[in-house]
């Protein structure tokens, strides 16, 4: 308890220091005009007139991210389970995942653009990011069951499906939860990159517009929105992960 409180205090102090530093560097123009003070950014972010703009961008990006997250998770889980249950598929699926992961998402964008519509490209890029993380974490999670538990299931005469459902799947949940936590920021980045290939709205579009028009403060607003969207869900998923470790770890 005390260690936890101390950690929280230390964390809060660190963040506060960082924000103060940001403000000071901005006020004194120590890093030139591309580093505005925090107060200026917050002022624009909370400006009534701009609220619809930010809201639309945030909602669009969150929708794409959620879609990509869902698709990627579903595909990652399905392929990991299939590869686990049908060993001959394991080699091939590992390769496929490795190849997908080694192609930079910037290079995937144009391909999706050709295959899909402009507006589904962000979710598609996002889902590729998520797919890889979920596939790998679930795949390793399914190997987590202890030898003693495997022996027990073998002696009790469990077939492969029973072993999967009653042993390997539950034992995989903590690793999967860690993967799901890490996959959220990756999903968000995927969606933003995907937007650069011509989506009609989103945080990524906001970033591009701000850059092209040299609206530095607006650019920072977009960055803060992205960081916020990332951290909120990351925090929630951390709670899920803790619960998974407490129950299944």
């Amino acid at each position: 308890m005390t260690a936890g409180t101390r950690n929280a205090l230390l964390g809060a102090t660190g963040i506060a220091l960082f924000l103060v530093l940001w403000e000071t560097v901005g006020q004194l123009k120590l890093a030139g005009i591309s580093w505005p003070p925090l107060s200026a950014v917050l002022e624009m972010l909370t400006d009534e007139g701009r609220r619809p703009l930010f809201q639309r961008a945030l909602v669009a990006t969150l929708e794409e991210t959620a879609q990509g997250y869902l698709w990627g998770t579903t595909a990652g889980l399905a392929l990991a389970a299939l590869a686990h249950l049908v060993p001959p598929l394991r080699r091939g699926s590992d390769r496929l995942a490795a190849v997908l992961n080694s192609v930079p998402s910037i290079a995937l964008g144009p391909i999706f653009l050709v295959l899909l519509s402009r507006d589904s490209t962000p979710a598609a890029v996002s889902s590729i990011h998520v797919f890889f993380i979920v596939f790998v974490s679930m795949g390793s999670g399914l190997e987590r069951a202890t030898p003693a538990h495997r022996d027990l299931f073998a002696v009790l005469g469990a077939d492969r499906l029973k072993r999967f459902r009653r042993l390997e799947l539950p034992a995989a949940l903590p690793a999967l939860a860690s993967g799901l936590r890490l996959a959220w920021p990756a999903a968000l980045i995927g969606a933003i990159i995907g937007e650069w290939f011509g989506a009609s709205r989103g945080i990524g579009i906001l970033i591009i517009n701000a850059m092209q028009n040299f609206q530095i403060v607006l650019l920072w607003c977009a960055v803060l929105l992205a960081v916020g969207a990332s951290l909120v869900f990351y925090g929630l998923l951390t709670l899920l992960e803790r619960a998974a470790y407490a129950r299944f770890g």
Binding site: T146, A148, H149, D151, L152, F153, A154, V155, L156, G157, A158, K162, R166, L167, P170, R247, F248, G249
Partner: protein, 275 residues
Amino acid sequence: MAGGGASITIDRASKRFALAGSSEGVLALTDLSLEIAPGEFVAILGPSGCGKSTLLRLVASLEQPSGGSVSIGGAAPGLVSARHALGVAFQDHALLPWLSIHDNIALPFRIAGRRVDEAAIARLIELVGLGRFETARPRQLSGGMRQRASIARALVLEPEVLLLDEPFGALDAVTRRQMNVELQRIWSERRITTLLITHSVDEALFLADRVVVMSGRPGRIVREVVVPFARPRAPAVMRSEEFHHLVDDLTAALEAPEPEPSPSTGGEAIGSGTA
């Protein structure tokens, strides 16, 4: 007294494990023969690494013999395990941490695809003294309680054969003795063919109908003693002179220097435990 369960026949079984960097591998067991009658309780004693667990794993069909054969009631152990007729408890309790004690004990029904017999579970939970802990998770229990749950799980399908590999090996001496008394009581109610691996001479003598001593690796049988005490056995048995006498006898056999490697000696002295 005729008991329940199937016979176990181990016929000149040997087991060689492959070992990286060695063409011979490890010879864990050689030419070991042992016959266990239906309803008989046999305890195996032997120095660490002599192949006791390997022997049990052969009977559990977790390993295949390199030579010779193992059968349960005339059938291959793999077939017996496939029809969910083996009960097992290891030194590691191997309870699933995400299931309650009740659900852990119900697990064999679910694995076998049978209807969960709540009455049988309740009776067993009562029998092993975990009545108030049905809904607890394994990590909330003490080591002794976890082992009791694991023994209840081993018994819940009324197996033909019960295999116990040092189930109390990780417990302190007092808890262990208490568990021995309980296991004796539980076993006396069912009399399932049982193979118990243990380090403890007291435990072997208190629980078993017959005690088998194995030599150092590769494991062979060097001594067999038929335990003369009537059942049910009270803990007082352990204080009798005869008990002490047998303990000394078996301890001496355990500590004996390696016998000369003559492959013809399967079991030398049988039934020396006469009163």
